[in-house]
């Protein structure tokens, strides 16, 4: 492999990793693993949205629940935006506008965090497939059919 190719391959790994983080399944989509990409996108997104529905958007708490937030942010950078909305939304008394409590909070936090961890697995998988060149081979086969 020439130096230029090595640089290109390194850049591709970074692009695939970032795409996989930005949109669940995005990394696999870039390397033409489209079936995989759709399955990952639907599953991770539904799991994350189910968590938000059950526990409300207040389960994204980057101040009071940092370890959970670290897992949740792996689902997408958009989680940071939700965390920001939750943090800055306060009423006149300075209390948070969006709150989460009870068993719904626990279930929501677990769902969103697991969705983030699953996406981390997918990021690693997409980068590894790119590194091995597996995506190119299998992706090409998928294109032919």
């Amino acid at each position: 492999m020439t130096t230029k190719n090595k640089v290109d391959h390194g850049l591709l790994l970074i692009v695939v990793g970032l795409a996989a983080w930005a949109v669940p399944g995005g990394g696999h989509f870039i390397i033409k693993e489209r079936k995989r990409a759709i399955i990952i996108f639907v599953t991770v997104t539904l799991t994350f949205l189910a968590g938000l529905y059950v526990g409300s958007i207040a389960v994204i708490d980057r101040v009071g629940a940092k370890p959970w937030y670290a897992a949740q942010i792996m689902a997408s950078p958009a989680v940071g935006l939700i965390g920001n909305i939750v943090e800055v939304s306060v009423d006149e008394a300075g209390n948070r506008k969006y709150v989460s409590y009870g068993r719904g909070h626990d279930v929501g936090q677990i769902y969103t965090s697991i969705a983030g961890m699953l996406n981390l697995l997918c990021i690693i998988s997409a980068v590894y497939m790119t590194w091995c060149g597996r995506g190119e081979m299998i992706g090409a086969e998928e294109d032919d059919t």
Partner: protein, 83 residues
């Protein structure tokens, strides 16, 4: 924003009420299904619909049975220690 859209978005601002009873443990099963699907989607070398569905079902069943088994063991342990 339409009223329907507002109602949908509004549903994400308040947590739903889940009672603290044994039935609430059923919430783990959709999560186990998600884990099984994503794990198999990353693990299988080539995705064939039938084989994929079969492998997901087997993994989901295995994890579910183990979790139920673990639950029973923990209940028995608690009973043993507290009664």
């Amino acid at each position: 924003m339409t009223p329907d859209m507002g109602a949908i978005l509004g549903a994400f601002t308040v947590p739903i009420d889940i009672p603290t009873d044994p039935m609430s443990t059923l919430w783990m099963f959709p999560l186990l299904l998600s884990i099984s699907i994503v794990y198999k989607a990353t693990k299988m070398r080539v995705l064939f619909a039938r084989r994929f569905a079969k492998e997901v079902a087997v993994l989901f069943g295995t994890i579910s049975v183990f979790m139920v088994f673990l639950g029973v063991v923990l209940i028995l342990l608690v009973k043993l220690l507290t009664e």
